[in-house]
Symmetry: C2
Subunit: 243 residues, 2 copies
């Protein structure tokens, strides 16, 4: 079924109207009167609706029923990724959204060679959020993960450490596995933090431990900075019973 995202304040109990890009998209899809569609508020709530009227630039819908989205992960997992070269962050935003991430936060660290300046950041954030919205729509999610740009490594640690289970992946960690962390206790939220191309500095890993994060390995093979977060996210989703 076709899925549209609207702003939460546009959700109404009985009737809904699609405008702008949504109306354009409806036209491209050749939606017809009487067809059923899903309208999501991007925060996990959705309405099953029937198309009642189509006019240029506007699609009117009757709300049939409302429900919590069925496609959200049982445990919210936040992905913290250091700024990386090229389109790697965009790649991770798209894939992490498909894989069910709750939110995606980008942050600078000592060995980051690429980092958006303040001037371009606003535009980039808009672009990143659009990538997340599009991936959420394609994968059938009811929630669009928020993409967050953090100003410092310290801020990233502080925020990531607030999850019940906060894990940093470090290639020099040999013994502590992700499985040990996931089996160590109960948690209702998870955060996963990974470094840039050159890895995190030892001192940064120590800071994370001080902030309350666990340090884990992702195995004997060195993963690229865009592979590590998606590998870890896939494993956490598997462990928490998503598939």
């Amino acid at each position: 079924m076709t899925r549209f995202f609207v702003e939460p304040e546009q959700m109404r109990p009985e009737f809904l109207v699609l405008t702008g890009e949504n109306a354009q998209h409806a036209k491209v899809l050749r939606l017809k009167q009487g067809e059923q569609v899903l309208v999501c508020d991007g925060q996990g709530r959705e309405c099953l609706c029937t198309v009642s009227d189509l006019s240029p630039g506007q699609v009117s819908l009757v709300v049939n029923s409302r429900q919590d989205s069925q496609a959200e992960a049982a445990v919210p997992v936040s992905v913290y990724m250091a700024y990386a070269k090229g389109d790697k962050l965009e790649h991770v935003i798209q894939k992490a959204t498909e894989l069910g991430a709750y939110e995606i936060a980008a942050f600078p660290s000592a060995r980051c060679v690429s980092r958006p300046d303040e001037k371009s950041l606003k535009k980039k954030l808009e672009r990143w959020q659009k990538i997340a919205a599009s991936a959420a729509q394609q994968s059938g999610r009811g929630r669009i993960p928020q993409v967050i740009a953090l100003g410092s490594y310290r801020e990233a640690l502080h925020r990531a450490a607030q999850a019940d289970l906060a894990i940093l992946f470090y290639e020099n960690e040999r013994s502590a596995t992700l499985r040990m962390a996931l089996e160590a206790g109960e948690y209702r939220s998870v955060s996963l933090l990974t470094g840039p191309e050159g890895g995190l500095e030892e001192q940064e890993v120590e800071q994370a431990v001080e902030a309350g994060m666990r340090v884990c390995t992702l195995g004997k093979r060195i993963l690229r900075c865009e592979t590590a977060p998606l590998c870890a996210l896939s494993a956490v989703m598997y462990h928490t019973g998503e598939f």
Copy 2:
């Protein structure tokens, strides 16, 4: 430690010589006499060596010790991916190699819109194998996964089904999870098969079941054709104790 791949027949018990691209690479890295390097045969065997002499286009090494590679997965996992548009197969070859795939096989299926013709296939296979070699080197593997191009869907099923545990992922499967398959018994080899952009046809899924494959879901979110194999591979590596 720097890692070089040589052909298996170039492996010698006491002395080794690096030539061609390896010698060039050694020059770029400014290797010096007395330095230690790892030389791998790309099939999981490696030698710890010391540089004894450097001349233009040739690096002479003394073999100190030989061992099985420490970075190979305990359970060999083969990735079967339907031909996809653009550079998606290349992307999966690179990432699946990092994640520890034993081999990567590409095959056509009914809804594949892109498929290399026989003329271009030889060149493409060379290119794909280079991508695997480069990813194996970067991730510190001792084995270069073989990239295989299969001529038909039937051939892919026949080959994939030979693994102890052979799984096809289908977005219309609702109840059978990957976990159920992985916990169902003992296995010494796994194969994971995923479809193209438009998915596999129902009839193709039935054929796979007849061939002896299990059909599983990867969860409630629809994954892109390049995300599904990497998500599944990450989960299998996690399940089999890699991290």
